[in-house]
């Protein structure tokens, strides 16, 4: 997003459309893209807004419902629960991913042998589809044969195997731990690039001034890493708020509503219970939440830019 703004400034130099007019043919080749984007990206957004004001329970109802759907979902304890679950899930998994990602990025940036290879190795988990990530962790958490149980059993920490996903609290944390895994590579890449951009002279002059290791990390690395950290956290938050695959495969929102998050709630309300109106209302709230998060971030970015 910051890139767009920079690009706008730069574009003042070139003057589009001054040299040539689009010919008729160019307009025709543009048509398919425009139609596809409008049909599947623009219209659905407006339509889901429209649906959220309709009574759309499958097999009954119909017609305008005013704010009934919103009233219904905002008074529904399970929606409130899904909302707090989503926040808890997103904040904790992003925090965990950021902490681990920062550690690995620092490790890669130190002069350990093979760091270049490790950076490539780190990109690979990023390419693992989320559903495969879910499969791996379901296998690790397996109550009868899982690796987590196996490790704890071998180390003598637990005498018996446990069902990690069958109590709400441990299920939630198991899902968070599994989802953070998917976020870590992104955090590493962003922070590693941020670290490489810090000029070494800064450290050298600080060392001459007698700054210790912690002081150098605290007063040089961390402030200069603030912008990349912000980018990483913002994007991870936006993704974590909509996490679906991992919840679907590991817990289906259960046990009880222990791991029910908003995206799974929308899916289940719409396609399992057939209440399209209520699902659309929650879907709109989720989209608004994402917009609010992005807007907040962009404002912070602009504020930081103005200061410099």
């Amino acid at each position: 997003m910051r890139r767009t703004e920079i690009r706008h400034e730069r574009s003042e130099a070139i003057t589009p459309s001054a040299h040539s007019r689009p010919d008729f043919f160019l307009r025709i080749v543009n048509a398919p893209a425009i139609i596809l984007v409008i049909a599947f990206s623009v219209v659905p957004l407006f339509y889901v807004g429209y649906l959220s004001f309709q009574d759309m329970r499958i097999g009954m109802g119909g017609g305008f419902a005013g704010l009934d759907n919103y009233r219904f979902v905002l008074e529904d304890a399970s929606v409130i629960k899904a909302f707090t679950n989503t926040l808890y899930f997103a904040v904790l998994s992003v925090a965990l991913a950021t902490f681990i990602g920062l550690g690995i990025a620092l490790l890669l940036h130190s002069d350990i042998p093979g760091a270049g290879w490790l950076v490539s190795a780190v990109v690979l988990p990023w390419a693992v589809p989320e559903i495969v990530n879910a499969l791996i962790w379901q296998w690790i958490y397996n109550p009868n044969y899982g690796a987590l149980n196996g490790i704890l059993y071998s180390l003598g920490i637990f005498a018996d195997y446990r069902a990690w996903l069958s109590s709400p609290l441990s299920a939630m944390h198991a899902v968070i731990f599994a989802y953070a895994w998917k976020l870590v590579p992104f955090v590493i890449i962003i922070l590693y690039a941020g670290l490489t951009a810090i000029p070494t002279e800064q450290y050298e002059s600080a060392e001459i001034d007698g700054a210790g290791d912690w002081a150098r990390f605290r007063y040089i690395t961390l402030p200069l890493l603030a912008a990349p950290l912000g980018v990483a956290v913002m994007f991870c938050m936006v993704w974590a708020m909509r996490a679906f695959d991992i919840v679907y495969l590991l817990t289906r929102g259960g046990p009880g509503d222990g791991t029910m998050v908003l995206s799974y709630f929308v899916f289940s309300k719409a396609f399992e219970f057939g209440d399209m109106g209520a699902a659309a209302a929650v879907a709109c709230l989720l989209a608004l939440l994402t917009f609010a998060l992005t807007a907040l971030y962009m404002r912070a970015l602009r504020g930081a830019g103005a200061k410099q």
Binding site: S17, V29, P44, L45, Y47, P129, W139, R242, F271, L286
Partner: protein, 299 residues
């Protein structure tokens, strides 16, 4: 860590602690896919002992043969995990869907991005770009209900072509957005020279701009292919039988929560499903890294 661990002045205890944290983090990152790899070559007996054999004593490729139903296929495992029968078909489905969507998105996306960067007035351009980026931020689950109705209306639920047009519509905005940025930095002098020589804009685009923007196109193509291949929720909602299941949905179906699946077999399936995007990401790692840095790439 150049600032922290790279120094001689740090007490040894702290240094060891830092390295320990770093190593645990690396283990967390790399052990799960490693365990998937090992599991996929292990027989059920080795996996189901307590604790499991971490390194299979007698590695086997049985699971891969069962998965693709070749000669060495284990008929019993296949009958106990009937959903796995859909695997070869859904693998092919995903390949077709991802390839065609990539083709559509990159070709139409390139034309539109170029037109947008050259032939649209600036105020308007700014709004269009903002709009494109906005559609990107919307959670897919939020627009899935209308998309479901739309496909139902035109009778394209549970078809490959239905999935292809939906993925194209969802991914095109972002492809246009990335490529527009690419074309904006493109040297306009080349095009001016072509115009003076009497090239039409289309001709200029086809024979000068396109070949020179290869790298951007590859990055966009890798992004689209990986996104389509990795998608689960769209495929889950819009398909209802193995006829059109993409690979992610076939995998989820095989992971039946009620009966214990054959884990060696499923790990093999998961590995095959992850291999395609991983290979792509490795080949195009430069483009992928650049894309990630611009906040571009990611489901």
């Amino acid at each position: 860590m150049r600032a922290v661990a790279g120094s001689r002045r740090l007490p040894r205890g702290k240094l060891v602690a830092l390295w320990l944290v770093a190593l645990i983090s690396l283990f967390y990152l790399l052990a799960p896919p490693g365990w998937m790899l090992l599991s996929s070559f292990s027989s059920p007996a080795e996996l189901y002992s307590r604790p499991p054999h971490w390194i299979p004593h007698r590695p086997t490729i049985e699971h891969y043969e069962t998965l693709f139903q070749t000669q060495g296929a284990n008929a019993l495992a296949l009958s106990q995990n009937p959903q796995v029968r859909a695997f070869p078909r859904s693998f092919a489905n995903s390949l077709i869907i991802a390839l065609v969507t990539t083709l559509i998105c990159v070709s139409f996306g390139a034309v539109s991005a170029y037109s947008l960067s050259r032939f649209v007035r600036r105020e308007r351009q700014r709004w269009i770009l903002l709009g494109l980026l906005t559609t990107r931020m919307i959670p897919v689950v939020s627009v899935l209900i209308p998309i479901y109705f739309a496909l139902q209306h035109i009778g394209m639920l549970n078809t490959l072509s239905g999935l292809i047009i939906v993925y194209s519509g969802l991914l095109l905005p972002f492809v246009i957005w990335i490529l527009e940025g690419y074309y904006r930095d493109f040297p306009i002098e080349l095009e001016e020279a072509a115009a003076i020589d009497g090239c039409s804009p289309l001709r200029t685009f086809m024979s000068i701009v396109l070949p020179l923007s290869r790298n951007g196109l590859f990055a966009a193509a890798a992004f689209v292919f990986i996104s389509v291949w990795s998608d689960f929720i769209v495929g889950l909602t819009l398909t209802s039988s193995e006829k059109a299941w993409p690979i992610s949905v076939a995998l989820a179906q095989a992971l039946n929560p009620i009966t214990e699946p054959n884990w060696g077999l499923l790990n093999a399936a998961g590995l095959v499903a992850a291999l395609v995007p991983a290979i792509l990401a490795f080949i195009f790692r430069g483009a992928v890294l650049r894309g990630m840095l611009s906040g571009a790439i990611k489901g």
